[in-house]
Structures are given as structure tokens and as C-alpha cells.
Amino acid sequence: MSTEYGLKISKPGFDVKTAPPTGLVFSSQFGTPRIQQRGTGVIKQSTGRTATIPHNLGYVPKFLVHGDIPNQLSPGDWATLPYQWVAPFFDYYYNREAHSITCWADDTNLYIHVQDAFGYTFIPAIDYGLSSSLLGYWQNFAAIGESIPTWGDEDAALRFDSVPIAQGATIVAAEVGYYCSDVNGSGNVKCHLYGIDEDNTADFGSDPFGRSKTSAVSTIEFGTGRHNGDVARFNIKDQLQEVVNRGGWASGHNFGLFFIGDSLGDAGTEIVDGAADFGMSHIRYLLNDTLLNYKYTIFKDRIV
């Protein structure tokens, strides 16, 4: 059977009868990617971090996704996805796989997913404070719960310096990540979580526990069975918003948190972090609800 059939179109300067495949703009001897559908969308923190796009093909198609990523790319620049971001070291240590935008397809949908930590700004704790019946605030580490056997109930304070949030800015989401560098006991530890209600929280060179607390407060639980190396995450959106709304707050000021036991229950367990141990507690926050603007192309061509 002759191979001299079909349609060829050569590039300028090539004889279509003798042109090599690289000299052709089209040849019916080769398949070419065919577009099934195209579209655009937005992924926001407030509406969930995964976009699900039906393709109705019944098989897994090839695809391309591009993204305009606020705070990562210049406005108007589009990256081919997936996109990976190198996390700050203190977060990379325990959360290194959660800083990418990934995309995949199955035989029903195309999915675009912004991973858990992507988009947040991270600020590591710079000061650690401890209040207990025997140890003072100058110990350079924080502990929550009950120190065993003699030191009694403990409260903790953390300070984060140079927080680049403008006065009055809207906080979309904020969390504290308390790094459990040393866990003594396995019981649940409960406490109240306050912001330190100051324009610019000074260091813990003097006892911080007499400072004003925010009216925003939450009751938190570390849960049972914590292990060394765990990170306990708690919502601090309201506490941070209250401090940022203060008239004397300005970008670059310092922010602090109190973890106060208030006899809520510590089940004979102490959870420690601080520069004297390891010290990777941090806050992370989002100021933009929009995490990703995306454009996608789904081809008719199948993977499987």
C-alpha cells in the first residue's frame, strides 16, 4: 500500500513533495492535538481551594493549565502550572509538600488545587514567654499545660516582629502554628487564646503577662496524643484583626499572643516550644481572598 496519500502543507521555502516532517506545518500522517474546551476561573480562599471542571469525555484527556498568581507573579504574567513555591525554612521543615499549585485529570473532571499553605505570609516567633509558679517569663521558651511534677500550671506568650500588614487591613485568614517541640504527657491541653492588645508589642525582657488582652478570644484544645514535632494550628483571625484595627498599629509593628490556661484543663501534660528547645512556632495570614486566576485547555486527545 502506498504511503503517498493524505494532505501535506509545507512551510515557506520547502517543496511539499520532499519536505521532511520538520518542514511541514501540517501532515495528515501525524496526529495533532485537538482542543475540546477552554475556560477561565478563579480559586479563592473563601470558596475552597480546588476547582473541579467537568469535561464529559469519559476518558482521561491531556490538558494545559496556566495561572496568574497574586503575590507570586507580576500582574498580567501567567505561569504554566503546576507551580511550586519554596517555603520559608521553618515551615518547609514540617510542611514541605503543601506549597504548590497542582493540576490533574481523571475520566470525569480536570482539577486545579491550591495546596494548604500556598498564598500565606509566614512570620516566625521571635520571643517566647513562660509564666509558671516557679519559672519566669525570661526563660526564652513557651510551655502550655502542667509542668510535671512541681512547677504547676503554665501559660505561654509568643511575639512576632515586623508584621507587614497596613493599619486597618482586612484579614482574610490567620492562624498560629504552635510547634510542639517537647511534649510531656499525652492528655488534652485546653486554654484561652488572646492577642496582646498593643500597638506594637515590645519584647519579653519584662514580664509580658500583665499586658492587655484582646476582647477577641477563643478556647482551643491541643488534643490528646500530641507528639514531638507536631504543629497545632489555631485560628487567630479575630485576634489579629482587632490588633491591626488599633489606631496606633502600623505596618512593620510587632504582634503577640497569649495562651492562658485559666483552669480549663491540662490533663497532666506540658507542650513546649521555644528557642531553648527548637523554636519554630509562627503565624501565617492571608490578605487576598483570590489565590489563583487560571486558564485551562482540555484536549480531545486521551492519556488513557
Binding site: V25, V65, W104
Partner: protein
């Protein structure tokens, strides 16, 4: 020399004589990607390893690749990572004049299946 030669096909509802390029489904002045070969390769191991496919061309070709992990049914775009199911796998491909090389990394032993599409068209 006139540019009024060649073949144009417009999208449905668009006059081919006046259609903008974006409204044309084919224009012989624009190169089309031409698929030379497709196939699968796999690697069942842990850590970092390379998987290679000899492409038989004497230049660096354009290509696409997707991968799935442990027959999970999710096909990820190249360079991505499967950490949705507690694992962590990634595939980073590159081409030279002889091979497409897929740099595979996984934490723990995982079977990583790769689908590649090799184009006739040079990637440069």
C-alpha cells in the same frame, strides 16, 4: 509576494475571509504540533531515579508528559506532585538530542506510571 495563499478554516459562525487568527481552527501559515509517538513508561522504586525514552530524533523535540501514582486514576501534569493521598511523587522531564529523561522522585516506594507524547516539532 502575496500572503493570500494557503489554507484557512474558520470557527463556526465566523467569515473565513475576515476571521482573526484566534477565530480560525486552522491556518497553514501557522505550524501545527505533529505527534510522532506516544507511550508509557513506569518506575517502581523509592527516592530519586531517572527513566529514559530514546526518541530517535537528532534534535531536542517538543513533548508533553503526565503521570499517575500507584494506579490512582489521577493523571498529574508534569512537574506536579501527588501529595493528595499522603504520598509525595513528582516527575520532571527534559529532552536532549537522544532521550527524553523523566526525573522521578517519590517518598517511599511508589509505582509511577508516565505517559509521554513526543512531537515531530523541535523544542527550540
Amino acid at each position: 509576494m502575496s500572503t493570500e495563499y494557503g489554507l484557512k478554516i474558520s470557527a463556526d459562525g465566523v467569515d473565513v475571509k475576515t476571521a482573526a487568527l484566534i477565530d480560525q481552527t486552522f491556518n497553514s501559515q501557522m505550524n501545527c504540533l505533529k505527534i510522532d509517538a506516544e507511550g508509557f513508561v513506569s518506575s517502581n522504586d523509592t527516592g530519586a531515579r531517572d527513566v529514559q525514552v530514546a526518541h530517535g530524533l537528532s534534535y531536542r523535540p517538543t513533548f508533553m508528559c503526565f503521570f499517575q501514582v500507584d494506579s490512582g486514576g489521577k493523571w498529574f501534569a508534569q512537574g506536579g506532585e501527588d501529595d493528595q493521598d499522603g504520598g509525595a511523587c513528582s516527575v520532571h522531564p527534559y529532552a536532549d538530542d537522544t532521550y527524553i529523561t523523566f526525573m522521578v522522585f517519590s517518598t517511599g516506594a511508589h509505582n509511577v506510571q508516565i505517559h509521554y507524547t513526543l512531537m515531530v516539532d523541535p523544542g527550540e
